[in-house]
Symmetry: C2
Subunit: 229 residues, 2 copies
Amino acid sequence: MMTMIIKIFNQVIIQVGKNLRQMSNSENPLNILWHESSIHKLDRQEILQQKGCVIWLTGLSGSGKSTLACAVSQSLHSRGKLTYILDGDNIRHGLNRDLSFSKEDRSENIRRIGEVAKLLADAGVICIASSISPYRKDRDACRALLPKGDFIEVFIDVPLYVCEARDPKGLYKLARAGKVKGFTGVDDPYEPPCSCEIVLQQKGTDSMSPSDTAEILISYLEKNGYLRA
Amino acid sequence: MMTMIIKIFNQVIIQVGKNLRQMSNSENPLNILWHESSIHKLDRQEILQQKGCVIWLTGLSGSGKSTLACAVSQSLHSRGKLTYILDGDNIRHGLNRDLSFSKEDRSENIRRIGEVAKLLADAGVICIASSISPYRKDRDACRALLPKGDFIEVFIDVPLYVCEARDPKGLYKLARAGKVKGFTGVDDPYEPPCSCEIVLQQKGTDSMSPSDTAEILISYLEKNGYLRA
């Protein structure tokens, strides 16, 4: 076998077997399918000393999903754990930038976030998905993508009037003025989970600190073995 | 502040501030935007002792992309590095299962793989994307998503007649028989990169072993600082 390595500027060109056509195809190692011997989730978890999973935060706009996602990420990072936040708003600037806010596209938005969360969890990452995800059916479809136990649904149950009073992005104001259509809680429904792993229920305007709330989730992960390989 | 923790079966319900509505909104810590103090790519890289990037393998069907992806993943894993393979075929069973093989959908297929690869790299993972990705414009669009240097395009330049002789999935046979339409190399073009980081050029049927080829890529990563934080 003849191998020639050529470097042009920063480009590396490797020439293999120049003009050698005499070898039979059966001798060609690139023709062997190696897929079985590849690296799997368990191997990645061994490196990371954690289990890949999805913490799915659902709740109204302004309920504190993003804030909680950051607090969980920070706390886990301080323990040397690898996390990644899939923020619904951010994803709409990238992967889901072709989607509108129609009912159909909102479902597709959640489907894609679920599929990416699944890939991240399979990579060994503790993925924190943060999006309103108002429809139960869509969330359940995401749950079905993950191995049993690896989809941890967290309902941030904050009353509408509290979220609306906060209105951090001014979206409730726009929705009430009719300038934003199909806004969850105003003119589109939010379907609370029937059975999810964790409910963070706020009855009035009082609330726990994000870091205290984060510790509840982290304690759940610890008890369920996600913070070790 | 009153906090009540209720456990029903495996579900944890945390009730916060039950019937306490006297606190002003300004005292509500969940209303503070923490996003700035979150964990960033550099922090994740510190944990992983590597730099997140995308190794983009492009080439004809049967050129050995998947085999090489597995070999690279195995070798990096043995060095304690976190990798994840985004295989074009696998992604079509999940995230991209709504897409056909029309020219438009093939572009969308690559766009989404690029967006996911970007997220994985941002998570700190060495992402190995393996798909024919026949159109230059689509690959360049994926490159544009990543910070400079973090998109490492690897062209597996194997002659069509070699790929067709291998035909590991029997697709060339189907394409020649007209049973598969728009097949790259048969009735749809493959546009080779004009300028990419690495070209693995095979002139005849002879080829390097996947593990030897993998070492070329790993050596590139090492030289360019991707195997340390």
